[in-house]
Symmetry: C2
Subunit: 332 residues, 2 copies
């Protein structure tokens, strides 16, 4: 990684939106309180303070700024999007039985699964209250649909992850659910609340969708490429957890019978032995699936950049363009 | 129980609303489908087909009928309310590590905790989509607030259940969260969608709130009164699970130091021995807390009946009146 920190597009976006991001942070802290149940802010603070990138709320603020929005509702929507994200993280950690998130012990480990499930439900309800305050039924519809896509994607991932019949189409549905649906909702609602022309609202949706897909494919690729300093994960975690992601799906699609039996044993049946990860990496190298996966991610990043065309010329638009490039630049 | 089945007010309500209840059932079945993730309808069907009483959607239909509603949105709202209820049951069973629900193995046992968490999230999102379709921001606000109260009540119950400092005020907050919030939202939205006068909307809220509280107190009392045929539970399940409910809270409030130590050992520390349930029952008998709890439930039922006064004279109003009486009649 030879791009200096200060030039990261994410940091430039954060600087350009600093005042509003501070207001969103304050709103998040206010709305995560609970008069009656102190466990709620304890658990939420653990995640909220952990220094996530706040990428999703920033996308909402960026979209609103880009479309010349003058009101205050974008702050509530940005907080909404972060609450939905935090709620899904809490539930994901229960589902995945994870022990670490953002380099710290997960809430389910520090408290218990119960707390993670119920506090997640609380945050989801809070996000729902926040979005009702905008008074926009269209915004509510977008976020309701995104929520359903997220939940459906999570269930699909659970049932499809270890099933070798999972192809690139199913993978894309899972990726839209787990990542792209909230990215695209975050950008789209920023345009809707600004009453931007339909063409621009559509452009914002397309940008968020393609950015989210590029982001997730890059994440899945980095799992096999190393770079554990940047991701906080070890090479091959997904293989060990028997998660079918794009680099493996592409290798399974081209496997000969012997190779297919290897994937059946290690992914479907989960009977892994020493040396299996190396063999899996060798099979991915044989079919050059890491390169093909990188090309897919780059394709989605280019699609995100192209989607920005109908939006006004603006420094924020330039930063969103660079952000899409940056997501895949870390792969080369 | 010497009231014959056919005269139960619940069954008379179901008969009066049969056509609409059938439409709600159809809507539930349609909306629980998922094109992409077949696990979702499997898990949902397990609960939906289990023959719950569908009391909550019936309350919405009853309120709409009573207020002369002419449209179709009450069907979607009734389905919404049942989806929220089903989602909370799925999450509750994970939190309580329950093995049985409505006399059948729970979803977390048949599938796994992951499925229960994620399918619950999906149903909550589906309920959210359904309510957006009504186009009423006021309805959305009511259901958003109810959802937050439910989630907060669940967290509060988790942390307060084994804490002897839990008093009747905290108990009431828990009961409003776990039961009354959805009852009162179910009746209130039926009035709002009918554009009923504010006085009647308020009456419907008050009725649902008081009915829900009476219902939950009765449930907690029956846990110590037996009647396992009707409840499908054994006497003292709540004691064994260290749940502080009203009959025990009232006994703790009057306990001498020796008795307090008993409650500390059995509820707070959970170190239970043979004979402890009998001793607990003896302490409740000493302070007559089952009688006092019954009186509280009857008081809330009477409050529910009184709340109906501003509503139009109607056979449905009579049935709602009888329903409130029936909830506590099973206690005598």
């Amino acid at each position: 990684m030879n791009i200096p920190m200060a030039t990261k597009p994410h940091d430039r976006l954060a600087a350009a939106l600093a005042g509003e991001m501070a207001a969103v942070d304050k709103l998040i802290r206010t709305r995560m309180q609970s008069e009656n149940a102190p466990r709620i802010p304890e658990v939420t603070a653990h995640l909220v303070e952990a220094g996530g990138k706040r990428l999703r709320p920033m996308l909402t603020l960026a979209a609103a700024r880009l479309c010349g929005y003058q009101g205050d509702y974008h702050l509530g929507l940005a907080a909404t999007v972060e609450f939905i994200h935090t709620a899904t993280l809490l539930h994901d950690d229960v589902v995945d039985e994870s022990a670490k998130r953002r380099g710290r012990p997960t809430a389910n480990l520090l408290w218990d699964n119960k707390s993670s499930v119920l506090v997640g439900d609380y945050l989801f309800s809070r996000s729902f209250q926040l979005m009702v305050e905008t008074g926009s039924l269209r915004v509510l519809g977008i976020l309701a649909n995104a929520s359903a896509t997220i939940a459906e994607g999570e269930v699909l991932q659970m049932t499809a992850a270890t099933d070798l019949k999972t192809d690139e189409d199913v993978y894309l549905k899972v990726v839209r659910g787990k990542t792209a649906a909230l990215f695209s909702a975050a950008t789209e609602v920023g345009g809707v609340i600004s009453e931007a022309p339909e063409e621009q609202v559509r452009a914002l949706y397309d940008y968020g969708d393609a950015l989210g897909i590029a982001f997730q494919i890059a994440d899945d690729l980095l799992d096999y490429q190393g770079d554990s300093g940047a991701t906080g994960k070890n090479v091959g975690d997904d293989f060990r957890e028997r998660k079918l992601t794009l680099p493996v799906i592409k290798a399974v699609a081209q496997a000969n019978p012997e190779e297919y039996a290897f994937w059946q044993r290690t992914i479907e049946k989960g009977r892994q032995e020493d040396g299996d990860l190396d063999h899996a990496l060798a099979l991915m190298a044989k079919y050059d699936t890491l390169t093909a996966t990188r090309a897919d991610a780059q394709g989605w990043a280019a699609k995100a950049q192209a989607a920005l065309a109908p939006l006004p010329a603006h420094e924020i638009r330039d930063m969103l363009h660079e952000l899409a490039g940056y997501v895949v630049a870390r792969l080369s």
